[in-house]
Subunit: 415 residues, 2 copies
C-alpha cells in the first residue's frame, strides 16, 4: 500500500531530513561527538536516583505508578514553587504545568498559538528543537537581530512596531547554539518593550543552573511576569532521559496548554515526577548541583584552552559563563557543512551552523561545539583534529574562492 497521498499538508514543513542524515553518523562507533547536546553522563546522580526510586514507591505507593493530572504531579508542582522562587520567579503551583521535557512545552505552546501562516519571532540562530516543535504548526519565522550580547532590544522594538507576532521565542541564558547570555540591563529593556507592545515572550531557560562563573541574572519572567511563558527542565540538573520539563505561564495560556497536553500524552510520567519531587524537596539537588557545575567548568575550560591553542585565527568563538555550547564563526567563505563530512572522516562531529537558522543561506560559516560529552584529553584531541581539517579546508577554500572570484563570469549558466 502507498501512503504518500495520506500525509497531511503540514508534513511539507516537517522534512528536516538533511539534518537527520547529517547527524546520523554522530553515533557511529569511534566518533568523537562535539555535536550532541547531551549532559555529561558522569553528572547524573545515579546513587541518589537509585535511593529515590525505592523511596518514591514507599511514600507514594501505587500513586507513583497511576495515571495523574495533566498539569502534573501535585507534590512536584508544590516543591517547584520554592525552586522557582530562588530564581526570582514567583509562581503558585496552579501556575505550573509539568511537560514531557521542555520539548513538550514547546510543542503544546506551538499547538495552541500557531496557526498556518502566523508569525513568530526567533533569535537567529536559535535552538533547532524549537524549530522542529513549531514547524508542524506552519508558522512564518521572523528572525531577530542579535549581537554578542544576544537579542538587540532596539531591533525587537522596531520589529514589534511593524509586525504582529504570536510570540517571541528566546533563550536568554547560555543560549543554544551560541552560549551567549543577555545582560541584566538589556533584559530590563526587553521586558519593557514586550509590556509596551502587549507581546508574549516564550522564555526557554534550560541551562540556567549550569553557571560556572559570574553571577546569576534573573529571568525576563521576573521583569514582565504577565507577558512571559517561562520554560525550564530537569534534563540538565537530574536526567534528560526522564523527560521532565516545567513551565510557568499566565492562566489562560496554562489552561490551554493543559487541555492540549491531554490530547498529546494525557500527562507526564508520574514515577519520574515523583523522583524529581523528592530530589528537590529532599535537598539532593542542592548537594549535587555543585558537582555537575564543576564537571562542566572543567570541560569548558579544556575546550577553550584547546580552541585557543589549535584553532585558526580566522575563527572567533564565544566564551560562555555556563551552559553546554560554544559557537565558532569563520570567514564568510567557510562552508561548515562541506567541512563536516571531512571532519567525520577523521571521527570528529559537530553541528553545522546553518541548521540553527530558519532562513536559507545563513550560518554556513559557523559551527556549534558541545563540550559536555568528552573527557578533557579527548576534547583536546578533537579540537586539534578539527583545527587541522579547518586549516586544510580554509587554505584550499581561500585559493578556490580567489579563483572563483575571477572565474565566475565565465561559468555563468553552467552550474
Amino acid at each position: 500500500m502507498q501512503f504518500e497521498n495520506l500525509l497531511a499538508k503540514r508534513t511539507e514543513n516537517m522534512g528536516a531530513s538533511a539534518i537527520r542524515e547529517t547527524l546520523k553518523v554522530i553515533s557511529q562507533p569511534g566518533m568523537i561527538s562535539l555535536g550532541g547536546g547531551m549532559p555529561a553522563p558522569e553528572s547524573f546522580p545515579m546513587e541518589i536516583i537509585n535511593q529515590l526510586c525505592s523511596r518514591v514507591l514507599e511514600i507514594y505507593s501505587s500513586d507513583s505508578l497511576q495515571y495523574g493530572p495533566s498539569e502534573g504531579f501535585a507534590p512536584l508542582r508544590e516543591t517547584l514553587t520554592e525552586y522557582l522562587a530562588e530564581k526570582g520567579v514567583s509562581a503558585t503551583s496552579d501556575d505550573i504545568i509539568i511537560t514531557s521535557g521542555s520539548q513538550g512545552a514547546l510543542d503544546t505552546i506551538g499547538k495552541i498559538l500557531i496557526y498556518h501562516g502566523d508569525k513568530i519571532a526567533v533569535e537567529a540562530p536559535t535552538y533547532l528543537g524549537a524549530i522542529s516543535a513549531f514547524n508542524p504548526y506552519e508558522p512564518k519565522y521572523i528572525s531577530l537581530v542579535t549581537d554578542d550580547n544576544g537579542l538587540v532590544p532596539e531591533a525587537l522594538d522596531e520589529m514589534l512596531s511593524e509586525t504582529k507576532v504570536k510570540f517571541i521565542y528566546l533563550i536568554p541564558t547560555f543560549q543554544n547554539p551560541t552560549g551567549r547570555t543577555i545582560p541584566l540591563e538589556r533584559r530590563r529593556r526587553i521586558a519593557d518593550i514586550i509590556i509596551r507592545h502587549n507581546a508574549l515572550l516564550v522564555e526557554d531557560d534550560p541551562y540556567n543552573a549550569l553557571r560556572f562563573r559570574g553571577t546569576d541574572i534573573p529571568p525576563i519572567k521576573t521583569m514582565a511576569p504577565d507577558n512571559v511563558v517561562y520554560i525550564s527542565t530537569f534534563s540538565k540538573i537530574l536526567s534528560p532521559g526522564m523527560r521532565l520539563g516545567f513551565c510557568v505561564a499566565p492562566k489562560l495560556i496554562k489552561d490551554w496548554m493543559v487541555l492540549a497536553k491531554q490530547g498529546v500524552d494525557l500527562h507526564t510520567n508520574t514515577f519520574s515526577q515523583a523522583v524529581a519531587s523528592e530530589y528537590l524537596a529532599g535537598g539532593y539537588l542542592k548537594k549535587h548541583l555543585p558537582l555537575i557545575v564543576d564537571v562542566y567548568r572543567r570541560k569548558h575550560s579544556a575546550m577553550l584552552t584547546a580552541l585557543d591553542k589549535y584553532f585558526p585565527d580566522e575563527l572567533k568563538w564565544s566564551r560562555p559563563d555556563g551552559g553546554m555550547f560554544i559557537w565558532a564563526v569563520g570567514p564568510s567563505y567557510l562552508d561548515t557543512e562541506a567541512l563536516y563530512w571531512k571532519a567525520i572522516k577523521k571521527n570528529v562531529a559537530y553541528i553545522p551552523g546553518k541548521y540553527f537558522y530558519t532562513e536559507e543561506k545563513k550560518g554556513n560559516n559557523a559551527m556549534r561545539l558541545n563540550f559536555t560529552m568528552a573527557d578533557d584529553a579527548t576534547l583536546d584531541r578533537a579540537v586539534k583534529i578539527l583545527a587541522d581539517v579547518l586549516r586544510e579546508e580554509m587554505n584550499h577554500e581561500s585559493v578556490n574562492s580567489e579563483w572563483r572570484d575571477t572565474a565566475v563570469p565565465h561559468r555563468t549558466g553552467t552550474d
Copy 2:
C-alpha cells in the same frame, strides 16, 4: 495582558470544557468513581518495579538516564518483537516506535495524517482520548455503524466506496467505552475490505491482555499487516504512570511518526523504557499478568452481579470478556447527563454516554461504567445507588415525557 486573540484557530476544536467540568467532581473525596479508566492499583507489580529500578541502573548505568533515540530504547523494541509475535503480530524492532503512552501514538498519527477538513472514520461511540488527540488537527468525523459485535463490515465497505478517509480508527478488543469485541470472522472481513479499498486502519489495542474468559482473537494487524498501524500500551500490564505506548506501523508512517515525535517530546522516558524492557525480557510480565487478570475477573463479576441484581429492566448492558468497561443503555428518553449530577450528589460517578460520540445528540441514554477501581463491596453499593437514582429519574422522566408529548404544541417558541 489579554491572550484570547493569540489563540490558534484550532483551539476552537479543542474546547471539551463540558466534559472537564463534568469529570472534575470525580476526584472529590468520598466519591465512588465508576467513571475513570484507571487500572486497579492493586494490580501494579510494585515489588518487581522496585527491583527493576535498581537492576536497570546496574545494567544500563547512565544510558538509562540519558537522552535516547526518538524511535525508542533499543532493548525494549527488541524484546517487544517477541511479545508482539505471541499476539501473532510479526514485526522487527525497526517497525516499532515507543510513544508516550498510546496517547502519544494517537497524537503523532493525527499530526502526520490529518489536515483541516480531512475525513477520518471512527466507531460510534469511540474512545474520547482519541477524539482529544485528533481534534486539534481539525478532522471531519465519519461515524461507523456498529452493533453488539462492534463495527459492521458491510457498513464499512459502503462508507469506503463513497468516501475518501485518511484512516479508520478502531478498538476491536474490549472496546472503550462499550467493552465489545469484534469476532474473528468479522475481523477477517474487515481486513479484506481495507485491503480492497487500499485504506489505512489505526488499530488501538490497549486491553488485549486483559481477557478473563474466552480465547484470544488475533488483531486485525495480523490479517492486513500493510494496511494497519497497530497501537498498544504498558498502561494496563505494568503501570499507566510510566506513559509507555508502542506502535507497529508501515515504514513510511513509522518514519514520519518518529520525525513528528522529535518535535513533540524528543523521545519517550528512557528509564521507564528500560524498566519495561526488563519486565518483559526477565519474564516478570508472564508471572504477573495472571494476577492482574484475576483482579479484573473478580471485579467484573462483582459489577455484573450487582447490575443484574439492582439495575432497572429498561436498561441493557454489555457483558465483556475482558477490559475495564461496561456500557449500559437505557430507554431513549433517559438523559444520562442530567442523571449524572443526581448520582454525584449521592457520591457515585460514571461517564455520560454522549462524550464518546463525535456527533451531537447521540449516546444521551447511555453510560460507561468502569469496574477496575473499586472493591467488590463498593461496586455493589455504587451500582445499587445508581440503580435507585435511575429508577427515580426514569419514573419521573417517563411521566415528564408523557406530559411533554402532549404539552409540546402549547410550548412552542417559549423555550
